[in-house]
């Protein structure tokens, strides 16, 4: 297949995943704030940090209240990382590669984009917002489902998945990084119910709560959540799952160059070897930063290997 289209599909995969992850983040943060005790709030500013947009945000807003952050993350057309922009990029990248995909996918993407244009106007009522984001997650899943059910699993499909899993792994590490900090001062070794709530919100933002309970029957604790979301090989939003998927996908691509594959297996080793018990605060941040940097480097290598010759 054409290198240019492979690159378009890769970015389509990334942007659509980003749109879905942003929707999850905003909804879960709203939920978390509702569950925390009066006087304590998870705030909204962490979401700006999760998405790596702190600088752009500060240029535009003096305070990081719900209205500003939500608007910035969802509807701001000048923020290239916003949900609205992600939908547009997901669609534009698909536009040029549409002849490789089942026609329904383009129709669904178009409908989703138009829905986003209509709804994401900057003064979205909270109740409406929640419903819209829930729907959007389902719409993204519908596209993924149509691809799975109707598209030949050829290289075009592979590149969509590569984009999707790279983005997803990246987003999971970002959520862990920012949400891994304790919201409440620690009194003793007892788990407070609120700490539990905090980690539940992390799980829920990844639709991981139910699956987590099936794997880890104990009550929700930071370490177990971290282990689950980093190392579990069956849950499709865990970092290890994404890395395994990437390993298979990259191994199936044409060419003799295996630098990207080596990069991914190195990441897997690192993730298996690192000690997770008691990991929080700064060391956790550093590990997540490291994973993000390695994932970004993988993106660069993929580009050099298959998109530019």
């Amino acid at each position: 297949m054409l290198s240019r289209l492979a690159e378009n599909l890769y970015w389509h995969g990334r942007y659509l995943e980003r749109a879905e992850d942003l929707a999850r983040l905003v909804n879960v943060n709203a939920n978390l704030n509702m569950d925390l005790p009066a006087g304590i709030s998870a705030g909204w500013e962490p979401l700006v940090r999760i998405t790596g947009n702190a600088q752009a945000f500060q240029q535009r807003h003096d305070q990081a209240g719900e209205r500003q952050v939500v608007n910035f993350l969802l509807a701001d057309e000048d923020n290239p990382g916003s949900l609205k922009a992600s939908l547009e990029f997901a669609r534009e990248n698909l536009r040029s590669a549409r002849d490789l995909l089942p026609r329904e996918v383009w129709e669904q993407m178009n409908a989703l984009y138009l829905k986003g244009q209509d709804t994401l106007t900057g003064n979205l009522a909270k109740r409406r917002r929640h419903d819209f984001l829930r729907e959007l997650i389902l719409d993204c899943q519908q596209i993924a489902g149509t691809l799975l059910g109707c598209m030949s699993q050829d290289h075009a499909y592979d590149f969509i998945l590569i984009g999707r899993y790279l983005e997803r792994a990246d987003m999971t590490t970002r959520i862990l990084e920012v949400r891994g900090h304790d919201l409440l001062p620690k009194v003793d070794d007892e788990l407070t119910p609120y700490e539990s709530i905090q980690w539940m919100s992390v799980l829920k933002s990844l639709t991981a709560y139910q699956m987590y309970r099936r794997h880890v029957r104990l009550r929700v604790s930071g370490n177990d959540v971290l282990r689950f979301l980093l190392r579990n090989e069956q849950f499709p939003r865990s970092v290890m799952f994404c890395l395994r998927a990437l390993e298979d996908l990259l191994a199936g691509l044409p060419g003799d160059e295996d630098q990207a594959l080596r990069q991914i297996t190195r990441l897997q080793r690192r993730l298996n070897e690192v000690r997770l018990a008691g990991l929080r605060g700064k060391p956790l941040s550093e590990l997540m930063d490291h994973l993000q940097a390695e994932l970004a480097e993988t993106g660069v290598v993929i580009r050099q290997t298959w998109f530019l010759r």
């Binding site: 297949m1 054409l2 290198s3 240019r4 289209l5 492979a6 534009e92 536009r95 040029s96 549409r98 002849d99 490789l100 026609r103 383009w106 129709e107 178009n110 409908a111 138009l114 290289h155 691509l253 044409p254 060419g255 298959w306 010759r309």
Partner: protein, 480 residues
């Protein structure tokens, strides 16, 4: 739908005949539309718009440098033509395109038609689309214009005329195909029992035509569609056709010509050979080595590859020489010269001011005629006789006398109308028709074509960038 008061105001109407009765081929649709109540009409109209929007039938409009999408206006009342009439048109179009291809091949080689005194040499000299770089070469099968889109109009007396033949990169066929898809979704019951001829085979016909040009006939040919990119106004069509044919849609930067003059495309597995290019980029931009050196859209070396027979280009570079107004005026003579046949479908009567008899007529009737500069590069405007002042007419008469061979003249036509749904009412609007003719080892004409409709009352401008819309076109068996 309230159709009782419909009147085409003395214009020939495509659906309604004398006495306000529907023509034979349009009876079924007319009866059906009449039976719809206003709610059902609104429902179908909305379904049309939604289907068109969702399918992405949009063309790009440039607005402050940001491409925005606008739904292509689509009218839900189809234009209907009887199968028996269409058969005649089809034969006429095939004849035309066959003659045009022989003509182009002759112009770039022996120029017999000029030597035999049928086509004047000086007409060629001013032609903007004659490519010196194509001299002394004949592409596979001798065919230059593999894809032709001819514009047909119907005059007040019901006669169909070809208004022009687009031999460079005619567009619009994707709208024809998409319109049909939309109509099938919205009016499924009509398609079940109305004897409407299908049009869906166009993409596979196009593929067969292109594949038949491959320089490597023994292998599976690699066919690609070459687009200027997604910001081109017809990009939707390029993508659509590539998808429907199951071939790659490439841009200039995806292709490279190697030292053996072979065209290769850049893929994730490295460079792969290309056999046939359906190019949707103008001649001037396809190869910066030969034509415009500043072109970022083309492929350096493409002409080298083409002339050495390593790759087929459709349409061939230089094919446009036969679609300017000079050639149009000579088409009846061209058909007789190469085919020894009379034209089966009429040209709009055209007076060539270079001919003394014609000149006399044009000067005497200048107030009723449309005067066009024959040579596109002339830089003079047109004169529409009935809408011009005496002073303008005198000025044009002077220009014509000074340089008669630079002018042609045609009568003003009373374009036919078709009932069109405008703001909740059915009103007459002027239409034209663009069928597509494919020439390879075989010749194929679409069943109907793209009907374009001028949505403004009285307007004759059907162009989509200027408020024109389109309709589905039905070729219907009438049984008698």
């Amino acid at each position: 739908m309230d159709l009782n008061n419909y009147s085409s105001n003395d214009f020939h109407d495509e659906l309604i005949g004398p006495g306000g009765r529907p023509r034979a081929a349009a009876r079924a649709i007319w009866k059906y539309l009449k039976g719809l109540d206003s709610e059902e009409v609104a429902e179908r109209k909305a379904a049309c718009e939604l289907a068109a929007m969702v399918a992405g039938i949009t063309f790009r409009v440039y607005f402050e440098d940001t491409g925005i999408d606008r739904a292509m206006p689509f009218d839900l009342i189809p234009r209907v033509i009887s199968a028996s009439e269409w058969q005649e048109v089809e034969r006429g179009l095939k004849q035309r395109v066959q003659a045009l291809n022989l003509f182009i091949d002759d112009l770039y080689n022996d120029q017999r038609i000029i030597a035999d005194g049928v086509f004047p040499a000086e007409m060629l000299e001013g032609s903007e689309n004659f490519r010196e770089q194509c001299r002394g070469f004949s592409p596979p099968l001798g065919i230059w214009a593999h894809i032709c889109g001819s514009d047909i109009v119907r005059d007040g007396d019901g006669t169909l005329y070809v208004l022009e033949d687009n031999l460079r990169i005619p567009s619009g066929v994707s709208y024809m195909l998409e319109n049909r898809q939309v109509m099938k979704r919205v009016f499924p019951e009509l398609f079940e029992d109305s004897g409407i001829q299908p049009i869906d085979e166009y993409p596979s016909q196009l593929y067969d035509t292109l594949a038949s040009l491959s320089p490597r006939p023994a292998d599976y040919p690699t066919v690609v569609v070459l687009t200027p990119g997604m910001y081109n106004s017809a990009y939707f069509e390029h993508a659509y056709l590539a998808q429907q044919m199951g071939v790659e849609l490439v841009e200039g930067r995806d292709l490279v010509v190697n030292e053996n003059d072979e065209v290769m495309m850049r893929t994730i597995a490295g460079l792969e050979p290309v056999d046939v290019i359906y190019r949707r980029i103008d001649d001037a931009f396809i190869d910066p080595e030969v034509f415009r050196p500043d072109s970022m859209l083309g492929v350096p070396g493409l002409m080298r590859a083409w002339r050495s027979g390593k790759v087929a280009l459709a349409n061939a570079p230089g094919a446009g020489v036969a679609d300017d107004k000079v050639v149009y005026a000579w088409l009846p003579e061209i058909i007789r010269y190469y085919l020894d046949e009379d034209p089966l479908i009429a040209n709009v009567p055209t007076w060539k001011c270079s001919e003394p008899e014609d000149l006399k007529y044009v000067l005497a009737n200048i107030g009723e005629l449309v005067i066009k500069p024959a040579n596109e590069s002339g830089g003079y405007g047109m004169l529409i006789g009935p809408r011009s002042t005496k002073k303008e007419q005198r000025e044009f008469a002077r220009l014509i006398k000074a340089d008669p061979r630079n002018y042609i003249a045609q009568p003003t036509l009373a374009l036919s109308t078709c009932p069109t749904f405008i703001q909740g009412r059915v009103s007459p609007r002027h239409v034209d028709l663009r069928p597509f003719i494919l020439s390879g080892q075989q010749t194929y004409v679409t069943n109907g074509g793209l009907t374009r409709v001028a949505l403004k009352a009285g307007s004759l401008v059907v162009n989509s960038s200027q408020g024109g819309g389109s309709k589905d076109t039905w070729i219907v068996e009438t049984g008698n």
